[in-house]
Subunit: 368 residues, 2 copies
Amino acid sequence: MKGVNDSRFLRACRREPVDCTPVWFMRQAGRYMEEYRRVRERYSLLEICRTPELAARVTLQPIRRLDLDAAIIFADILLPLQSMGIDFDFSKGEGPVIHNTLRTPNDIRNLEVPHPEEGPVSVFEAIRLVRRELDSKIPLIGFAGAPFTVASYLIEGGYSRRFVNTKMIMYYHPESWHDLMKKLTTMTIQYLQGQVKAGAQAVQLFDSWIGCLCPADYTSFVLPYSKSIFERLRPLGIPTIHFGTGTAALLELMRRAGSDIVGVDWRIGLKEAWRRLGGKVGIQGNLDPVAMLGPRDKLKEKVEQVLEQAEGKVGHIFNLGHGILPETPVENVEAVIEWVKQKSKRTHSVKSRAAKAVSAVGARRKKR
Amino acid sequence: MKGVNDSRFLRACRREPVDCTPVWFMRQAGRYMEEYRRVRERYSLLEICRTPELAARVTLQPIRRLDLDAAIIFADILLPLQSMGIDFDFSKGEGPVIHNTLRTPNDIRNLEVPHPEEGPVSVFEAIRLVRRELDSKIPLIGFAGAPFTVASYLIEGGYSRRFVNTKMIMYYHPESWHDLMKKLTTMTIQYLQGQVKAGAQAVQLFDSWIGCLCPADYTSFVLPYSKSIFERLRPLGIPTIHFGTGTAALLELMRRAGSDIVGVDWRIGLKEAWRRLGGKVGIQGNLDPVAMLGPRDKLKEKVEQVLEQAEGKVGHIFNLGHGILPETPVENVEAVIEWVKQKSKRTHSVKSRAAKAVSAVGARRKKR
């Protein structure tokens, strides 16, 4: 019997041939689903995250309804900060608001990295619960925010347009910046190791906002830490995904961080992205989440464009370029999954027939 | 006597050798200057724009204080929309707020392009006033918002993070989108022609928000209109600059729009940007405006990085990657101008000595 290691998603992560392109969506457990909205009527986002049974339940909702190739644990990138004494909340539809932001070198010096056992153990427990419920063919993805993106929330207090305070810490207090990045790197490694130990079969590192940096700053202030995370995860033997938005000019550098897969957004064509990343890495992406709002014919055209750009290469995982929007019709999500499977099945089977034909010709030639 | 045509800025626009790299800043007339803040205490932004004497006065403020190589007329990209019946205001520090947004095909159908003489004539008059006052060595830049960016304001009602409504018009009502772009293109061409007739010696087209689009959408929904604007400006014989942010994956397409100079932001290194744009176009940029907030040694390092990336090539105009921030210390602006001149003077003179040496060697060889 074929196990989870033979699943489309994990095969694609290892850049092995698949029958069709695997597909999952960032924020696939979310407000676009009625099932999720019903849970949210009774519990806040943080309550769901902190209650393993609830987190497991919403993680499984999209898996039960949609033909997805991977589950991703329901959590938030700021969760592990709670045990560091960071106090935050989620304002309505606006993302996190951090109440005790870091603004001075002193704030950073006083920040303590907790022992992993004091970390967000509810996430580990939720992972164990989900694994028990999951079909053996559907792998479970764990995740964490990357040190830069988490630092930007800690410093700005929420989503930022210009990242002025973050860059000011980098430029005015580089030692404090590096100190903060080291602390967050340590925490991220322990957090992801804990998730893998609990049963996560792949992990994604979300560096969502690195697109605000120039390549030189990314190289000095961010890359060494992301690299060290992937280095420490490698011995665990699970695939790693490195995601960011607005990264068209950072892809060569992200490649150096060393993940198996790089997640890209819609701002760059997949063909060009792959050219810049080189052949030895997989790609996840890259439909614009706004396209998911329809209309259906335009959406289909855009799904096909993504698949055409991927050229049926091994190592492509279909996803959006960022999280699914709450106003997305669930029927559109269903349709996209179906189109990806249909269209990529044809490409993959043509490719595999072509490969067989080539090897048959090779075999005949050898015989002569 | 050398006239304005021999100015550093216009020579660089034509990709001719210069003694040092010309420098100006987007929003160089702005809140970071005390002189400007004093005018703003008495008049609103719109009042300044609508009063030629005030617009001329603030346009000249940075020129009188700083060693800049070009002036840019003080105006706003939404000004020409007033005669189209669009009602807008500027909220404090948050950019424009449009009161009667376009949301339906009907709204777009009813939008009328005014006759050019009914347009923002105050800008033309301000240009005439500035030209009378300007030193003959300092060229004056006119500008307009590009159809896509102006359309996004009209549809979203202000700055947008995801451009959902704009993309929904594109996808659900493509004919209406193209109708809107045609109207805005006609208006932009007339508006820029009027500015050149009034005395603008170069023009910049601001397509600030195109970075939200995937290359395929840029190609179908935006490029034809930007291209048609540059085509219609070419007979006027003045240099054109095409600016956008987050354009790392759009540069080859922007090149096809046909401006003389492409303005890029800090998200891509100038060397890579130039490689993608090809040899026959100049580049304007690309310091991160946040770096202008200091500290001084970091700022100097970053200015030098930009100049090193430009490699002293003809056709480089030093600028920021977006508008100067209001909190920028004016002393930092002064310092940046000085560093650009100092450092690039060395590069240009080394290059020109090298060029002379090469041609001298060539001459000696020919003699033999």
